[in-house]
Symmetry: C2
Amino acid sequence: MHKPALLLIDVQKGFDSPAWGQRNNPDAESNIKRLLDAWRKHDRPIIHVKHCSVSPKSPLHPDQPGNDFKDEASPLSGEPEFSKTVNSAFIGTGLEDYLREKDLNALVIVGLTTDHCVSTSTRMAGNLGFDVTLVSDATATFERTDTDGVHISAEEMHRVNLASLNGEFCVVKSTTETLELLDEK
Amino acid sequence: MHKPALLLIDVQKGFDSPAWGQRNNPDAESNIKRLLDAWRKHDRPIIHVKHCSVSPKSPLHPDQPGNDFKDEASPLSGEPEFSKTVNSAFIGTGLEDYLREKDLNALVIVGLTTDHCVSTSTRMAGNLGFDVTLVSDATATFERTDTDGVHISAEEMHRVNLASLNGEFCVVKSTTETLELLDEK
């Protein structure tokens, strides 16, 4: 893997709103912070993506305090940021052009939520030809309801969605396994 | 919904290979046929997408007999076909341009498989601004294994993936509910 860039998807305060329901993996933010600290220490590329909802009532709307990045994932000066209005980090943004221009062919993806913006961005990244590692314990999602009205836990949403992605669009690894990538260089 | 086009994803013989494992929803093809017959009867737009794997051993490689469309979904003369090499029907194809040119803003998506090509194409369609209906009983998928090596049934893969898509990227409906769209015009 050449120069893997750390791509942080929607690590924003608005996801702390109770409106989203029960979440899995409370350790996602601390694992994201471990990866971010390591990427900074090794001076590797870091890219932040922020969701700017077009729905005024969304906790992620730019006028809402929840639009801000979480403290654990706050960008430092010089770290590029891309804003998006849909799930995919590659639609309506300059992200693909930026990655091509910087010759960044490999991505390590973390952030929120597993089955919405993270899955969609991972799928597009893989289909666009990027070499993608998705970090299972540095992402999380929320409980949902199936089309028959039956509840599905956040952990089950997370687990099944990772099973759909792994080996088809990306390789799923843990934070610890991903940190080992930095020492391969 | 204006002029909904029926978008058939990868309804190809290669998915009958036992290599894919256990599948759910054996009625998918008959439901796809019901929709296709109705779309033809009402002279509504129909678009076929074919997966042309770049892996020579894939049952969906163009040199393999499995690359052919299934009999239930075989295109008629004049029905456009788009070939793709990745999961998304919108990457490396002229599909988006075609839809914009024809002013087709609404899509009814069916085909194989729920969590790979159908999900990825549904996500991109929704994120590109199309009004998407995904037909739950006109798609199907295969059993998979989670990242801990635990088996997940095809039906569970299907159910959880539809729960991730419904209300975020599309509206999930049954074949019968979808057929009612034709009478709304």
